[in-house]
Symmetry: C2
């Protein structure tokens, strides 16, 4: 079941043994399907299992007094939504389904057994949380130092690159299931400004953007605008 996860891990590490595959598959207690806009975990909740996204899109978000919301990350098939919770226990963010999602549920107890028997797989799981954090650092960097237009361009570059690793894109086309309001929350800007900045990207001929469907028309131009360097996604195969 967690094939997508393994495919992505294999981009980072040359060897995943059959025993490791089976252990992780066996750690899954059950699967669930949830509909769009459903909550996967709630902020402040103490959790006892983690969720691996098998298909669909999800996000993490946190809200501040005054209803100001920030979407802190986007997730696609093969991502752990809340692996942090395995060590953290109490969540500091909520996770929401952006589309209908298929999720694999893995109890913490089963992960604990993995940490006690399969150190290499443990390091790979650790790695996924660390890559997660590297993406967050990139967003933090953007939030302060990139313009609104650059942040949007960077998001598109990151999205396409990550989708490609899982084979979830269609060439230069992909789906981004966010309303412009959600896009604003993701990029840290108002709905109105998100709209303007989407318009700017279109008028520069960099993307075609109809509803949720996006086509990158000028990848080098977009990468240059965003100052996108995929190094932080850690796509090199190494022994970990």
């Amino acid at each position: 079941m967690p094939d997508l996860l393994f495919r992505r891990l294999l981009r980072r590490d040359p060897v995943i043994t059959e025993a490791e595959r089976q252990a992780l598959a066996a750690a899954i207690s059950h699967q669930v399907t949830i509909e769009a806009d459903a909550e996967i975990v709630r902020e402040h909740q103490v959790t006892d299992s983690v969720h691996l996204l098998l298909s669909g899109w999800a996000c993490r978000s946190a809200t501040l007094g005054g209803g100001r919301r920030r979407i802190q990350s986007l997730h696609i098939g093969g991502d752990f939504i809340d692996l942090q919770g395995f060590t953290l226990k109490r969540m500091d963010y909520s996770a929401l389904a952006l589309t209908a999602c298929r999720l694999a549920v893995i109890p913490h107890a089963n992960l604990r057994v993995i940490t006690e028997t399969l150190p290499h797989l443990t390091r790979l799981l650790w790695l996924t949380t660390v890559i997660d954090a590297a993406i967050q650092r990139q967003w933090l960097l953007g939030a302060g130092q990139r313009s609104a237009l650059q942040r949007l361009a960077h998001l598109l570059c990151e999205a396409l690159t990550r989708l490609e690793v899982g084979g979830l894109n269609d060439g230069r086309c992909f789906r981004l299931p966010l309303t412009q309001g959600e896009l604003g929350d993701t990029l840290g800007m108002s709905l109105v400004h998100a709209n303007r900045v989407v318009g700017e990207l279109r008028s520069r001929g960099l993307v075609r953007w109809r509803g949720e469907q996006i086509e990158i028309l000028d990848w080098p131009g977009l990468v240059a605008l965003a100052e996108f360097d995929p190094a932080y996604l850690e796509l090199e195969q190494r022994d970990r």
Copy 2:
């Protein structure tokens, strides 16, 4: 030597065995002292050891074209500067000493042995990288949704709380060894605005701030202004 680290881990987990303490102490290959403004690790560098800060202040920073720099985190005694590098190998940020620092160096090879023999200690190390990421999420949340004044107030709340865990503060007084230029880079604002916002905090009677020395005069007021909730620092004792 890594007493500060253990003290802080004990705030999160009730039990650390003598074997775990000794294993981590033994994993340290050597210690180094570096002077202020020295570089600890450089962006894009492939590392083979991690650095545990024993005393002094350090930060992580990343730079974007045009020389725009972002300080992504601040570190005090007991923090790992670059534990991410153990799984990541290639760094996506630079680390700099803000003051003279004493560092313990732990080769990746020794950490690997720990992951293969001491699963509970491994989970605690994993936990430190996850708390690290939780702090980053909080900064990301602030970067978009908090005003400049609130971000500064939040930074002070976080700094004092983290210093308290290590016993590194002096009541409501502590040292923050940042110039206002660096403070601006940390908070994602210009030097000039950082200065104004420090002035605002002073004139509201919330802090006394002379050079690097800070005294919190009105803690509840500062917490309220910042909307500071220390839950994300994960200070509850649990089995991990």
